[in-house]
């Protein structure tokens, strides 16, 4: 189990790398677009749709990793009380698992919507990139996020030591 978790951690480098490269490219794209427009009156016409796709990649490549690290924004106001009652683990386990499970329905629907976009022939304005491609990427990453949250939640609850040990290699 521990080697598996460690493998997952190593693999999580890949989506983070994808997000990082896309982010850097987005920065350069915006810069070039402004300079070309200001200096030569020749903006990159596809910049808007490329920007849209870039953000989708940045967000959804990062989301499973963020979820796996428990990095979502949360309020820790009652932490001391839960700690005193020794209910932290139970609470985090249930809440994390539940967060993962509730993602499954939208994830399935995103697949439907991707297929619908394909059947209607939706494409982007300038580059004619199929809308369904990006939507499928979002769907897959949403499923992955759900899976990561469910596994993480169950482990916090049932096997916290595994999670802890795997984190200290």
């Amino acid at each position: 189990m521990i080697p598996l978790i460690r493998l997952m951690r190593r693999l999580s480098v890949l989506p983070v790398l994808l997000a990082s490269v896309t982010l850097f490219a987005l920065m350069v794209l915006t810069f070039c677009d402004v300079v070309l427009r200001s200096a030569f009156s020749a903006p990159i016409e596809a910049a808007t749709e490329l920007t849209r796709i870039a953000i989708a990649i940045i967000v959804f490549a990062s989301l499973p990793v963020l979820s796996g690290r428990g990095g979502h924004i949360a309020v820790d106001l009652l932490d001391p009380i839960f700690a005193r009652l020794h209910l932290e683990r139970l609470r985090d386990g249930i809440v994390t698992t539940l967060s993962g499970v509730m993602l499954l329905w939208p994830a399935w629907r995103i697949v439907d919507l991707a297929e619908r976009a394909r059947s209607y022939g939706d494409v982007t304005e300038y580059l004619a990139i199929p809308v369904s491609t990006v939507t499928w990427f979002i769907a897959i990453m949403t499923f992955l996020t759900a899976a990561v949250l469910i596994v993480r939640g169950l482990m916090i609850w049932l096997a916290p030591r595994l999670l802890w040990e795997a984190g200290h290699d």
């Binding site: 983070v16 982010l23 940045i58 509730m102 979002i138």
Partner: protein, 439 residues
């Protein structure tokens, strides 16, 4: 109305159970929307918002402004900012704390987040103030309070999100934040002055810098001025002069700022490939967490919308015959109360969908209201018992109790309330600059 209030309570409970805000709002919004309409529709609504929010062109300013702040930080600019304000202010009583406030204001001009401003400045300013025997209460409080300027002085992630939630011009919001932000610096300087007046031992005067030292320190801040000038000048249309003609939308300003910060950090040397990777990774993960919250908030606000809360509130106000200023006073009081428990983003996301239609329906200016919301949000960051900036200080500094910090923050908090009243009573302070922006 009842449905919405139950939903609101459900979100509160889930959030207090430490469910991530994104999931708490998303779940309640989804279930509520399903009960108001049907399950299939609610799921589709949520799924579409996941797809569309993550491809919203306007939201690309979020990662780009975060990126700019992180690159700037890697370039060592925060330290130089502190050194230069110290060279000019350090020899006054409480001068190091005053220098901290000014440096926070300067750093806020290139960083969009209050937490990042506080965290960064605490690493730079705290050791100096300890060295000169400043009381922990004053030094931590000046950083915690000064850090809140991060979201008022443009660029500001909170103003961006307010603009996106309410379709208010982000450019105008940014420009509108400048005078209230400058006022904030002045008022905080006054708070330092009051603190050392009451307890002179809390902030002894530091050594006086020579003019030579001051000029040498000034040379370090050109990059901050350059970046701020580029971003705000481009937004304001001030760079639309021959032969540059640089004008940009907020998204583009963010992109230019990020690229500029990257190039400056690179030019100063010391920016390794590992640094770049770290900055990009942190930005991507922060972006993902913000987008998740935005999607959840939108789903929740759709539930509130379909359940008819905005209309019910507006009707209620009409029936009670409240004057607009009374409603505004009530809203501000609610914000200050909520500010005790909530941190900035969640407070904004929970309340703006409810209050905004009411406020604009009564004829208040959306840009002005945005600035008011950000100022009360700033106040929430240093209001006990949950003041995020105070916790940041506690986290970075370590051996100081939150009670000490909150005690030191009191004069700053009172100056904040004073500033809030001023902004409420004189809308021109907020709206003058944006009104000059129109061609």
């Amino acid at each position: 109305m009842t449905d919405s209030l139950i939903g609101f309570a459900a979100v509160l409970v889930l959030v207090l159970l430490r469910m991530p805000i994104a999931f708490a709002m998303g779940l309640v919004g989804l279930v509520g929307y399903a009960l108001e309409t049907n399950f299939r529709g609610a799921i589709s609504m949520a799924a579409r918002l996941v797809i569309d929010t993550s491809q919203d062109y306007g939201l690309s300013v979020v990662p780009l402004f975060i990126l700019m702040g992180l690159f700037v930080n890697k370039g060592g600019i925060s330290r130089e900012l502190y050194q230069v304000s110290n060279a000019f202010l350090g020899h006054f009583r409480g001068g190091l704390a005053m220098a901290t406030i000014v440096a926070c204001g300067g750093f806020a001009a290139i960083c969009g987040s209050s937490l990042a401003t506080a965290a960064t400045m605490s690493k730079v300013a705290m050791p100096e103030m300890r060295k000169y025997g400043y009381a922990d209460s004053l030094s931590t409080a000046s950083i915690a309070a000064g850090g809140t300027l991060g979201i008022l002085i443009p660029p500001s992630v909170i103003l961006v999100i307010y603009g996106l939630l309410t379709e208010t011009s982000i450019g105008q919001l940014f420009i509108a934040g400048i005078i209230p932000g400058a006022l904030g610096i002045l008022f905080y300087l006054a708070a330092v002055y009051i603190s050392v007046l009451r307890n002179p031992a809390a902030g002894p005067a530091g050594p006086r810098a020579t003019w030579g030292q001051r000029l040498a320190a000034l040379r370090g801040v050109w990059s901050v001025l350059l970046l701020f000038g580029l971003v705000i000048g481009g937004l304001y249309g001030a760079l639309d002069v021959w032969p540059i003609h640089l004008t940009f939308s907020p998204t583009e300003a963010a992109g230019m700022g990020a690229m500029g910060a990257f190039l400056i950090a690179l030019a100063r040397g010391g920016l390794t490939l590992a640094d770049i990777r770290e900055v990009l990774e942190e930005t991507a993960l922060t972006t993902a967490s913000l987008f998740a919250v935005l999607i959840g908030a939108w789903i929740f606000s759709n539930f509130v919308n379909i359940a008819g809360l905005p209309e019910a509130l507006a009707n209620g106000v009409m029936e009670m015959g409240l004057a607009p200023w009374m409603v505004m006073a009530l809203i501000v009081l609610i914000y200050v109360a909520l500010g005790c428990v909530f941190e900035s983003l969640s407070m904004l996301l929970l309340t703006v969908p409810i209050f905004f239609p009411l406020v604009t329906g009564m004829g208040f200016n959306p840009v002005w209201f945005g600035i008011i919301v950000v100022v009360v949000t700033e106040i929430s960051l240093i209001t006990p018992p949950v003041g995020l900036n105070v916790f940041i200080l506690k986290g970075v500094v370590g051996n100081v109790s939150t009670a000490t910090i909150f005690r030191g923050v009191t004069p700053f908090w009172m100056m904040d309330i004073l500033r809030l009243l001023l902004l409420l009573l004189i809308p021109g302070l907020t709206l003058f600059l944006p009104s000059q922006m129109l061609p």
